[in-house]
């Protein structure tokens, strides 16, 4: 994946920000790349560096043009940036916000306003054109913010947790809308998210950052099925354990919980203390402080029967047939790759 040649108007970047980030990023035109990772992994730093908002070493090439040799100012980079808190200009109407990026690129006012109105219409908020940001709901404001970023037709669209801080229902609707717009957008989109659902539904590829480095790249399906970091495993709800050169992952529903040491064919077994128990769909999800921390789904009946409350010592086991094994290093062949 990492050495796949990008042809045509794509993104190729080596971004180094001292003490925070050292990442290689590639994307083809029209691709949507989800950037995931724990807090402090460097996701936002990556977006800021690509936009030119923080000083960086390395190279950024977009659509065949270098943005770093010579260094281009933010305003000359042709990016669209969607901020988590929208950051709409509070003194401008929704229409003027969307028209702003067109006006700065010397589009005449009537043309800019007509185009901006078109973008508001595409996001279903054209009747809010004359409203100020403080008169918009969170979801409406984020639609305007995305329209504002897309209106100047940037080569690179950077979205920093665009659904953060929105109600779950609003986020779901907006996710569907954004997927539609990203499908017809022919630039490159990088989407920072905390939500596995965003990565799975919106992205063509997923880039996993961990402590400022790229821990994994791949299709959403591949990353979800074979996570290489605990963070991603948690995001997609899998247990991942490391054994030498391989990872082993298994679903929390494949885990058997018992009070005594399990007998029989289960090869993998751990002893640990229940840290938390919380409803998860029809089941109860336990977080168990074993070595490492594991999650297990049990029925509510079993929870009561076994007295699975925080502090309880339990045994966890999983059958070998329920465990998926894959190479730890992304550069090695996958022993169990399909």
């Amino acid at each position: 994946m990492a050495d796949r040649a990008v042809t045509g108007p794509g993104l190729r970047a080596d971004v180094r920000v001292a003490g925070r980030l050292d990442a290689h990023v590639e994307a083809a035109a029209g691709e949507v790349v989800a950037v995931i990772g724990p807090n402090g992994a460097g996701k936002t730093t990556l977006l800021h560096a690509l936009a030119g908002l923080v000083p960086m070493d390395g190279t950024v090439e977009v659509a065949g043009a270098s943005w770093t040799q010579p260094a281009r100012l933010v305003r000359d980079r042709n990016v669209g940036f969607v901020f988590q808190d929208q950051a709409l200009f509070p003194h401008l109407s929704a229409l003027d916000n969307v028209a702003f990026g067109l006006r700065t690129r010397a589009v005449a006012r009537p043309d800019a306003e007509a185009t901006a109105r078109g973008w508001l219409a595409r996001f279903g908020v054209e009747d809010l054109a004359s409203r100020r940001p403080r008169e918009l709901s969170g979801g409406q404001a984020q639609r305007v913010a995305i329209a504002r970023a897309l209106a100047p037709e940037p080569a690179l669209l950077l979205l920093d947790e665009p659904f953060g801080g929105l109600d779950v229902g609003v986020a779901t609707t907006l996710r569907v809308e954004l997927a539609r717009h990203l499908a017809s957008y022919d630039g490159i989109a990088l989407l920072v998210t905390h939500d596995a659902l965003d990565a799975l539904t919106l992205a063509d590829r997923v880039l996993v950052l961990d402590e400022g480095r790229v821990a994994q790249t791949g299709t959403p399906h591949d990353v979800a099925a074979r996570p290489r970091t605990d963070h991603v495993a948690r995001l997609v709800g899998l247990n991942v354990i490391r054994e030498g050169d391989v990872f082993r992952s298994f679903s929390p529903s494949a885990v058997t919980v018992s009070l005594g040491q399990p007998e029989g064919s289960a090869r993998h077994r751990w002893r640990g203390r229940v840290l938390s128990a919380a409803p998860h769909g029809d089941a109860v999800r336990l977080l168990v402080a074993a070595e490492p921390e594991l999650i297990a789904d049990v029925t509510p009946a079993a929870t009561t029967e076994l007295g699975l409350v925080p502090g309880r010592e339990v045994w966890l086991s999983v059958k070998e047939t329920a465990v998926r094994t894959y190479a730890r290093s992304p550069d090695r062949p996958l022993p169990s790759a399909p």
């Binding site: 305003r75 950051a87 200009f89 702003f100 990026g101 700065t104 504002r148 100047p152």
Partner: protein
């Protein structure tokens, strides 16, 4: 706001606080009330028609208007530089800008004479090259007013620029805006309340300016005699005129305060 605990729950306010507090209020209010009561309202309009008063009124209005314009045109860029550009010596410049706030006005006048007087640092240069001299002209009045008023304006606008934040500057840059466009379309509109407050403060300071003006520009009727200078001159000889003029300045000051009420008169 939580309901305020009153006398019913906490007991009566102690006299040791009530008495000095009332005294302080009286000290501030009584002189103003007596000025209002003592103003010769019967001859008020006639007083305004005398040439000396008319000239002083006109000169004060002119000087304070030009001062506000000078603050807007020169002070706004300075406030922006202080708030947004990390240049060497910025802290020093900001400190220097604040000095006239606390400087005794007469010292400001002496400083202006030292710089722009006939034999001053810049004044002598100006005289030798163009033959022009500044002291004792209406220009000197405007310069003195601007010198003492500008700090109020710059600090008010700088504060507004800082609190509106660089955040929207960054957003504008991602939308392709250069810094001048960003300043015009984003930074300045967002700082507008601070600009208006700063302009009102500068205007108020200019209306009452006396010490620096009389030191640097003198007290010549028609060219440099502003209202405060005239009040000072006629207080012994013609106290009625002095009170009339004082009343006008009081009304103007209260008007400014009313305009700024959202900032100062409403308790947080």
């Amino acid at each position: 706001m939580s309901p305020r605990a009153g006398s019913a729950t906490l007991g009566r306010p102690p006299l040791v606080l009530v008495v000095p507090g009332a005294l302080a209020a009286a000290l501030l209010v009584v002189p103003l009330v007596s000025l209002v009561l003592d103003t010769p309202w019967g001859s008020f309009v006639d007083q305004l028609r005398t040439p000396a008063v008319r000239d002083a009124l006109w000169l004060t209005a002119l000087a304070s208007a030009i001062t506000v314009v000078a603050c807007l045109v020169l002070g706004t860029p300075l406030a922006w530089l202080l708030a947004r550009v990390d240049f060497p010596g910025r802290t020093l410049v900001r400190a220097a800008v604040a000095v006239p706030l606390v400087l005794p006005p007469v010292v400001a006048g002496v400083a202006l004479v030292t710089a722009l007087g006939r034999n001053g640092l810049l004044g002598s240069l100006l005289r030798e090259t163009t033959g022009l001299t500044i002291p004792y002209t209406t220009t000197a009045v405007v310069i003195a007013h601007t010198f003492v008023s500008m700090p109020f304006y710059v600090l008010s606008v700088e504060g507004a620029l800082r609190s509106s934040g660089e955040r929207y500057d960054v957003v504008a840059a991602t939308l392709g805006a250069d810094r001048w466009t960003t300043f015009r379309r984003v930074t300045l509109p967002l700082a507008l309340p601070g600009v208006l407050a700063g302009a009102a403060l500068a205007w108020a300071r200019s209306l009452g300016e006396f010490g620096a003006t009389i030191t640097f520009a003198g007290n010549y009727p028609g060219t440099t005699q502003t209202m405060p200078s005239l009040i000072y001159q006629v207080l012994q000889s013609d106290p009625e005129v002095a009170r009339t003029l004082s009343m006008i300045l009081l009304v103007a000051s209260v008007g400014i305060l009313a305009g700024l009420r959202n900032r100062w008169l409403t308790a947080p």
